[in-house]
Amino acid sequence: MYRYDQYDHQIVKERVAQYRDQVRRRLADELTEEEFLPLRLQNGLYMQRHAYMLRVAVPYGMLSSAQVRMFGHIARTYDRGYGHFTTRQNIQFNWINLEQSPDILAELATVEMHAIQTSGNCIRNTTSDELAGVAADEIIDPRPYAEIIREWSTFHPEFAYLPRKFKIAISGSEQDRAATAVHDIGLHVVKNAQGEVGFRFLVGGGMGRTPIIGSVIREFLPWQHALTYLEAILRVYNQYGRRDNKYKARIKILVKALGAEEFGRQVEAEWAEIKDGPATLTVEELQRIAQYFVPPPYATLPASDAGFEAHKADNKAFANWLLRNVKAHKVSGYAAVILSVKKTGVPPGDITAAQLDFVADLADQYSFGEVRITHEQNLVLADVKLSDLFTVWQAVKAQGLATPNIGLLTDIICCPGGDFCSLANAKSIPIAQAIAEKFDNLDFQHDIGEIELNISGCINACGHHHVGNIGILGVDKDGSEWYQVSIGGAQGNNTSIGKIIGPSFSSQQMPVVIERLLDVYVKQRTEEELFIDTVQRLGIAPFKEYVYASPIPTGHTHGEDACV
């Protein structure tokens, strides 16, 4: 993985000093809260419901074991013993003191980490494929480009005060695992007919209150021009993006208003001015960065391992885990292991200091000291030998990180919601937990098969509810919390936005609502058809009809009754 050189170290060190002084000035009232706000946000510090929350950048989701250990240390020393992985491959700590935040950043800097631009109206942390470099379906490893974009976007002087936040995701595989279609810019690293490497540019995707799938504005841009083209897009957006209404300020609204074709034309005109300038990437620079992402020293191994096969045949629980949590690797004899941070009873994505230490040790022992974070809020050990899988599984199981539910119903994407987030209209964690408890039976989950259940506590859609096969959105009505359900959303190559099935429900009704949706699926599915396929074939009508056919008991004694 990428390692800082003297320049990276210097920049991050100077940032810590700058931020420390900003905090000092805020505490001395030299800065008003209004003036301090964008400064702390661009350092990842939010004021939440109960305390400050610090969001630490994990560039494109890649971590070393030393960095994971540092998270454990921060969780123990400055927080309440745990952290939370987010849908943007970052980690956040929920109980932070403002006064200590500069010290945390100083500690992070010692392991080449920071919280730069994890929030605020600037270019955020670029996200990528958690299986980058190891996926069997990879065309080009996107990580060198992600790192190049990280450096370019860090403290870009022109784009630190954009109309709104700006998110870039990059993928280099057949299968898009980075949700590129719902980002401000989605990049696909591709090869053209001549075998040259370049980018497909999608612009103007996003979720929030106006979910839109990104439009391709360029099918192929030679890789050397990546930064100048990004600059052109950002300049057009910075100048013409709406600033009168924060809900209409994202680039997707601009692209929609102009039309993707006209937006693309403006970008091309801007790009024509800077194309081939000094920011054009060089082969030398790509090689410098790429050498950090060369394959680790893999052993030469056969494609199968006798011990592994024996355990797989003998042990149903292990086999289940392999089926769900272990992914194909492009190197013979290796596999990528997903550690489920979705155990029933634990808020999705939450991890304790002890678990962080455990994961760091495990990575050192079995996976070249590297860990990745998925946008589904799980962890990945990308390079585990088949012969080690049984041992790894036993160790992981003991730590509660082996729930064999990856891709299944209880692998719920869920934002922190009203328990923590000051933006939330409703809680999301208890909904996730209630659903997880009701459907805890793994046989049932396996029978239902792959399904994405995503929950957001507010319209900002941090829980990606729009692209959940089942999406749940917390809404506030007359001061009480209700949940709106959509179905048919999907991420990946066939990204789609879910459709709302009807009036919202109370929290108590939600597990039954999910049960009824699944009942329809089970009755109507053809063999081999996933939930999403059935919804796409039948539309939402039969689901809607059945869910609302008879009343669902509600704990509420007043307010809206969704079943009337």
Binding site: M1, R3, Y4, D5, Y7, Q10, I11, E14, R15, A17, Q18, Q22, E30, E35, P38, L39, N121, E151, W152, T154, F155, H156, P157, E158, F159, A160, Y161, L162, P163, L227, R235, N238, Q239, R243, E273, G277, P278, A279, L281, T282, E284, E285, R288, Q291, Y292
Partner: protein, 181 residues
């Protein structure tokens, strides 16, 4: 009429706090670009006034003009020679359009005179402002301008190009890969 330019106001120019002998004309309620009278002395007029009173103003030297944050740099591209100062207004420090205006004036239209940030100009934005081409800063009056000066030197290194740095870090220095381990 005939408002004397305020001379005891200080600005940062070329990284130093200096006395400022320019005044910035802002239209009051009821004033129009056509009718507003231009005070004597060195005045930075709104672009709308330059447009409306161009015949009167074009022989006046020195003259400054300021652009609102929603203006485009190219409105000035044929007129640059008329101005000793071009200012860009920041109605709020969080309004980042002025950065692109400055960058475009400098790089595309090769404006080489004084480029001044006016309005809600605060210490923590100065580093970025100088990078895109501002060389003068009218720091908001309630802030300590000497303190703000420190904002220009927050960072000693930068990755990407802008007006101040034509060569990205990857072309400027020999960055040796650090050994993995």
């Amino acid at each position: 009429m005939g408002r004397t330019p305020v001379s005891n106001v200080e600005i940062i120019k070329n990284r130093t706090v200096v006395a400022d002998d320019w005044s910035v004309l802002r239209l009051s309620d009821g004033e129009t670009p056509e009718s507003v009278s231009i005070p004597a002395g060195k005045v930075i007029v709104p672009f709308s006034v330059w447009q409306a009173q161009r015949t009167l103003l074009q022989d006046r030297a020195p003259l400054g003009v300021w652009l609102a944050s929603d203006a485009q740099a190219d409105v000035l591209k044929d007129d640059l020679a008329h101005f000793a100062v071009i200012a860009v207004d920041f109605p709020k420090f969080t309004d980042g359009r002025g950065y692109s205006i400055a960058y475009t004036l400098r790089t595309r239209f090769a404006y080489s005179g004084e480029l001044r940030a006016i309005g809600d100009v605060l210490r923590d934005q100065l580093f970025y402002m100088q990078r895109v081409g501002f060389d003068a800063f009218a720091v908001r009056a309630d802030k300590n301008i000497h303190d703000a000066l420190k904002g220009l030197t927050d960072f000693s290194e930068k990755y990407q190009t802008s007006w101040d740095e034509k060569t990205p870090l990857f072309r400027r220095v020999n960055r040796q890969a650090v050994s993995q381990g």
